[in-house]
Homo-oligomer: 187 residues x 2
């Protein structure tokens, strides 16, 4: 059994949907964890996985992601969810009002941990911050309505199934899936 | 000997200046600590003091402060220094552009820890965010140039010695000093 540790229901739905397409089922472990403050998203995710493993003592994955806006020196970065709750997409757009450089990266880090090993998988999607909040039929959550992936016309929120195929989270998940299936001989 | 644990040289200067006026001398312990992510500034400071004590094994204080802007749901709060490095005072003013409610609180938490006890002291200064960046002769650091304490005309940065007398940090320090001097019989 593989646990996916998160307190974010939307994230669990998205991740379990992608994993199940590849024959991997995950159980939602909604436990409160102490997170560390560090601007390195990998360090934060690894510490979270260690903390979760010390509680659960079962195979698990955690996923952390962050939006890193170049002109804002990587803000909101590892504090993306806190910043979103405080200032929302409106706040990000206000900070970028009149700013030409809208380059941003959405980064996802997945950490797998069981009793014998720990592995880190990273996915990066380059893109830019939209000029307005762009919802689509697929609503989206978090910064989805303001992030437009490179060489795409639409924001994450305006894509229906396509986000599952091209997102930073999907890139990290695919790397995890490939490793996990060969390592544990899952077909 | 009392250690003041901080990686912020300006903060050390400010705190040691106030403490020395009351006959308390502190040593600067510039050690790197793992901070936890939590929106409760007291929890963050207590965890930091515990972490520092486990390394130093000597009497110490840590001080954490944060600017909590009401209309931004407490942002930048416990992440004030990270947010400052990323978006600066310009960013905060941009977020509040056209916003009437400029109420904010500057909060300081001091945690004392030695081999037998731990104490928490909190100082809160109400005020508002200025419309522009207001430096003074006393330059100031961090959010000093945009925070105007309640019933004051000037920003923290525009005050010369007065900040040391009325600041959130000073309120917390005074509570600590009073307790510390009576507890350890210092005259």
């Amino acid at each position: 059994m593989l646990n996916f540790v998160t307190s974010n229901r939307s994230k669990f739905m998205e991740v379990s949907r992608i994993l199940s397409k590849h024959g991997i089922s995950v159980v939602h472990a909604d436990i409160e964890l102490v997170e560390i403050q560090d601007e390195d998203i990998e360090k934060v995710a690894v510490a979270k996985a260690e903390g979760a493993y010390s509680v659960l003592k079962q195979s698990l994955i955690v996923e952390d992601d962050g939006l890193f806006i170049r002109v804002l020196r990587g803000f909101p970065g590892v504090y993306s969810s806190y910043v979103f709750r405080c200032i929302g997409n409106e706040g990000i757009l206000k900070l970028l009002d009149g700013v030409d450089d809208r380059y941003a990266e959405f980064v996802s880090v997945i950490v797998y941990r069981n009793d014998i090993e720990s592995m880190v998988f990273k996915g990066v999607r380059r893109g830019r911050i939209a000029d307005t909040i762009r919802y689509g039929r697929y609503a989206g959550w978090g910064y989805d309505p303001i992030f437009i992936p490179e060489s795409e016309e639409f924001s994450y929120a305006e894509m229906y199934n396509k986000k599952d195929e091209i997102s930073h989270r999907c890139i990290a998940l695919r790397a995890f899936i490939e490793w996990y299936k060969s390592r544990y001989d899952i077909r």
